[in-house]
């Protein structure tokens, strides 16, 4: 069993897309070490992150995230356990939420954790053009 969690937070950086690159570079090796997988994206000034891993690893990571000065107002929208991961192939998939901006905004407005998880996973599987 793994724990699955989605949170939202307010990006401190004016340009989250720039800050995101740095976050990825530090989070990917770290998540790989902790065997955490997931996806990260942003919508305007809001970061949305989906995390999957062992409950202990998730607990540990959430503590680290809460202390991270790059964002504020971290709110866990949903946490639950499941048999298998949605995104086993990514230590941290970078999802292009701009592709679904109105949907993302609507889900954020409703703090719809389940909807955001479904959207993030679908976007991650569809991939991004790089």
């Amino acid at each position: 069993m793994i724990d699955r969690l989605v949170y939202r937070s307010h990006a401190v950086a004016i340009l989250p897309e720039v800050a995101l690159d740095r976050i990825f570079r530090s989070s990917v090796p770290n998540n790989a070490r902790m065997n955490i997988t997931g996806a990260l994206g942003f919508c305007e000034q809001t970061y949305i992150q989906l995390l999957e891993g062992s409950p202990c690893a998730i607990d540990e990571l959430v503590k680290t995230l809460e202390a991270d000065a790059r964002h504020t107002q971290l709110t866990i929208l949903l946490r639950g356990s499941s048999e298998r991961r949605l995104l086993p192939g990514w230590s941290m998939a970078r999802v292009d939420l701009a592709k679904a901006a109105p949907e993302t905004a609507t889900l954020l407005e409703a703090d719809d954790g389940l909807g955001l998880i479904a959207l993030m996973a679908a976007l991650a599987h569809e991939g991004v053009a790089t």
């Binding site: 720039v18 570079r25 065997n35 230590s91 719809d112 479904a118 959207l119």
Partner: protein
């Protein structure tokens, strides 16, 4: 009649006039001949009194003015109107011109005109200064007019625009003709005009001597820009405010420029850091890959050499599976969300759906029942299990959104046969996985469209249609399709038709046994690796394939062995080693014997090393490799070797 007093006055005036050097003061007789001359006149005009007395004053005029009769005309005007005053060019004795201010007053005795008093000032310097000022004003005007990065313009005291430069035109979009004379409040947002912001700005400038602020302004085309505005009052000589100077900068551009700068810095940062980070994470991946190579290689050989035994074979398979998972982990170390290959596996649907059950029930809310019903015996289907789970989650979210007042969501699966091929729906055996709700439903025309990317049926406030396009994509790539049935007031059902998994497909999590054909040519292979664990393993594999093996623990040792054994066909070397690296070894080997084949066994980390041009084209075998991979790789090379032997 001349009195003493008069005489005294007369001589005093003479003294006065004769001490004046800044003005030429002299007298003319009624015809215009010079009758007196003061030092000022001598200084300006260059004549001494002796030289000029009795001469006609027209010689001070330029020839052109003389021809035009200006001198006589001046006297005539003075005589008739009592005064002549003008500015114009006059000539000095040496022929040089000077700009003169001239006043001529007639002198009468009784009714009779007896002559003229003439006062001349040299205004050449003042004129030069005026011209210089005019020129500098003109230059300044050109300068301001030409500035394109700042809108610089003037307002009259009431706030109407009365000048406009190129920057203002560029930033705000109005030409001078369109805007001069209009009130500057049209640059403000309507709500700010209503709140009186333009008037407040001018009164602050007037009272505080300056107004400075950033805010939104409007261009001619109605678009907004973020402006930095400075207003300075301009006061006349009398201290009254004659207008305002307004300087506006488009800071939107500054923000964009900053962003570009940031991006450039970021690119630089990336290029600098990428190498370091590549080496760091790659280094871990490299070590890890070496271990995996040893583990998977040994297990691979064991599986091949040991007979099937129900007590040990599953354990062996288990160990191989663990190692393969490790290989996936190293892949993850730099995995961004590039589009992933669909990994088709044989998936047990009831097991997969039940595994999601707890998460769905927990997150969907208390008003909705989630029911799962599956046929007792259900064969595995061919699909990607992770994508299928994501697809189901999206379908469940859609169903939930169709149940604003609660209801029931069913997830069911049954085996069905497609008897005839209809378009993309090929005949065959399928499992139909259905997600249905008893919610609001959709009209048929909308149900037909929902699988289009970005189509959302639910309007603002609910969910996404994006999931459905992903669901459809997954079904199609798995060899199936989706069907949507919906009725208003009764609910929606979405069916995922997935083909049964063929016998050749690995069950999710199981490993394919690769067939190894070792009927190829028998070669002499030099295996080089500094890691004894990897070396032993590779040697065992090469040996298993039926080749003769020589062994070296380093690049330097390999070079010595290579020189001693001209029969070596192939050098299979690790890339990263202390001392001579694999690439360097390859270069030396090629220099000694160009026909020898060299294969670099690269771990993940080695991808970050940039090889020299000579070794860039060398065949590379990614570590960890299996026996089958090594066999086919060497087989491909053996052809080359035999071809070279023919040459």
């Amino acid at each position: 009649m001349t009195t003493l007093q008069d005489a005294a006055d007369d001589s005093r005036y003479r003294l006065l006039v004769e001490s004046i050097t800044d003005y030429a003061i002299y007298m003319l007789d009624a015809e215009g001949h010079v009758t007196s001359w003061n030092p000022g006149a001598e200084r300006f005009k260059g004549y001494t009194a002796d030289e000029i007395l009795g001469a006609h004053f027209s010689r001070f005029y330029t020839p052109k003015d003389r021809e035009a009769g200006l001198p006589c005309n001046a006297l005539k005007i003075a005589a008739e109107s009592g005064r002549f005053e003008a500015e114009g060019w006059r000539l000095r004795k040496d022929g040089a011109r000077f700009w003169a201010h001239v006043v001529i007053d007639p002198i009468h005795r009784g009714e009779e005109l007896i002559g003229f008093a003439k006062i001349t000032r040299d205004l050449t310097e003042r004129r030069a200064a005026e011209q210089a000022l005019r020129q500098s004003e003109e230059q300044f005007r050109i300068l301001v007019g030409g500035v394109r990065d700042y809108a610089i313009y003037m307002l009259d005291p009431n706030g109407r625009v009365n000048s406009w430069n190129a920057g203002a035109e560029r930033i705000k979009g109005y030409t001078p003709d369109e805007i001069i004379g209009h009130h500057f409040s049209r640059f403000y947002l309507p709500e700010e005009v209503e709140a009186g912001a333009p008037t407040v700005a001018l009164s602050i400038a007037r009272e505080a001597g300056r107004f400075e602020k950033e805010g939104w302004r409007l261009r001619k085309d109605g678009t907004r820009f973020w402006a930095h505005v400075v207003i300075d009052p301009i006061t006349g000589d009398d201290g009254e405010i004659v207008g305002f100077a307004k300087i506006t900068r488009d800071v939107t551009e500054r923000a964009e420029a900053q962003r570009e700068l940031e991006a450039a810095r970021e690119a630089l940062y990336q290029s600098q850091k990428l190498e370091a980070i590549g080496q760091l994470t790659g280094g871990v991946a490299h070590d890890f890959n070496n271990l995996l190579a040893a583990i998977t290689g040994s297990l691979d050989l064991l599986r091949k050499r040991l007979p099937f035994d129900p007590r040990t074979t599953p354990l062996l398979e288990n160990a191989i599976q663990g190692a393969e998972r490790g290989a996936i982990l190293t892949q993850r170390m730099l995995a961004f969300a590039r589009k992933q290959e669909l990994k088709l596996e044989a998936v047990d649907i009831p097991q997969l759906v039940r595994g999601m059950g707890e998460f769905i029930r927990r997150s969907i809310g208390p008003n909705i029942d989630v029911r799962m019903r599956f046929a007792d015996v259900l064969p595995r289907v061919q699909t990607d299990p992770y994508q299928l789970e994501t697809a189901l989650l999206n379908l469940v979210v859609n169903a939930r959104d169709a149940l604003p007042n609660g209801g029931e969501i069913s997830i069911t699966a049954e085996q069905l046969k497609m008897a005839r091929t209809q378009g993309e729906r090929r005949a065959g055996d399928y499992v139909r996985l259905s997600v249905s709700d008893n919610g609001t439903g959709m009209p048929p025309e909308i149900a037909a469209k929902v699988t289009e990317p970005f189509f959302t049926t639910k309007g603002v406030g609910k969910g996404t249609g994006l999931g459905l396009s992903m669901v459809q994509g997954l079904a199609g790539q798995s060899g199936g399709w989706i069907e949507i049935k919906s009725e208003i007031g009764h609910g929606t059902r979405i069916d995922l038709w997935l083909p049964l998994a063929g016998a050749d497909l690995p069950a999710a999590g199981l490993v394919v046994t690769e067939a190894v054909d070792n009927a190829g040519e028998r070669l002499v292979v030099l295996v080089v690796d500094d890691d004894p664990l990897v070396l032993t393993n590779t040697v065992a594999m090469v040996d298993e394939l039926g080749h003769n093996v020589l062994v070296a623990n380093s690049g330097d040792e390999a070079l010595v062995i290579f020189q001693r054994h001209p029969e070596i066909d192939l050098v299979l070397t690790d890339e990263v080693m202390p001392g001579l690296s694999g690439s360097q070894l390859a270069e030396r080997v090629k220099a000694l014997r160009p026909t020898a084949a060299v294969v670099l066994a690269s771990g993940y980390a080695d991808l970050h090393l940039s090889p020299g041009p000579d070794v860039a084209t060398l065949p590379r075998l990614a570590k960890p490799f299996t026996l089958a991979q090594l066999a086919s790789f060497i087989e491909g090379l053996a052809l080359d070797v035999s071809q070279r032997a023919v040459d």
